[in-house]
Symmetry: C2
Subunit: 149 residues, 2 copies
């Protein structure tokens, strides 16, 4: 089932890629049924908003849809290890699980650097490296394109 | 000058208080001239958005106003020590200084817990405890009111 979830997040990441944004996508889904309830992609440039990362966008839409800021019973898959901002937002939302594709040693805040969930009251289950190759490939293609102008 | 800045942030915190939100306010100001360019207050319940903390709201408005996500030359004062989410957002924005009033041992992510700026590439100058008593008093009054129902 996680492959379907990851594919949906990768579709979101592709939207970011097409808009010349760092290609990261995220989805919020029902932890038991795997039904996707919200999708988001990185829109920091498009929206001129430093906080408009894929996970934040997906969380915002999930909160709007469910009319609550408490997302117990829901989980989030994102194509790149969340940064500290997104990790803390996921903790505030109280999601069950945080799943991600590619690892981000430079700016990740889950398995690297601030390791936010080591410090939060709510500690979701963490699963990294799900569909890692596909997620990393899109990022590599993006940054290669940037370098080649 | 910081007193004027802090007072403006406290006015924002009071708006949150009046809306029955945890009373935190933040302002973004020009580091040299102290001119305030954006204000925000905690609106997580009002906006049904886990990310709508005072600092995120102020950053969003500052980015919109200046039409950039790079806030070099600007600083942020907030009435409560930023959480990891807001600290990382301030790092992404590249603000010069992060100033705050009350310390937050439970959920703060600057001087406590994740200590986000120990791990970020951009490290703003940090000054905590500015107008601490006033900022703490408003928070204490809010939580006392909650307990007394």
């Amino acid at each position: 089932m996680y492959k379907t979830i990851a594919d949906a997040a990768l579709q979101e990441a592709q939207k970011a890629f097409d808009a010349k944004e760092i290609p990261v996508g995220a989805v919020v889904f029902n932890t038991k049924t795997y039904q996707i309830i919200a999708r988001g992609h990185n829109q920091t440039i498009t929206k001129c908003d430093v906080s408009a990362h894929a996970e934040i966008r997906a969380l915002q839409k999930a909160c709007q849809k469910l009319k609550t800021t408490h997302l117990q019973g829901y989980s989030c898959y994102t194509t790149l290890e969340p940064c500290a901002m997104c990790a803390q937002a996921l903790a505030w939302a109280g999601v069950d699980k945080v799943l991600f594709g590619a690892y981000d040693p430079k700016s990740g805040g889950v398995e690297h650097n601030a390791r936010v969930f080591n410090h939060t009251h709510h500690k979701p289950e963490i699963i990294g490296g799900l569909e890692e190759k596909k997620c990393q490939a899109l990022l590599t293609r993006f940054f290669k394109g940037l370098r080649n102008g």
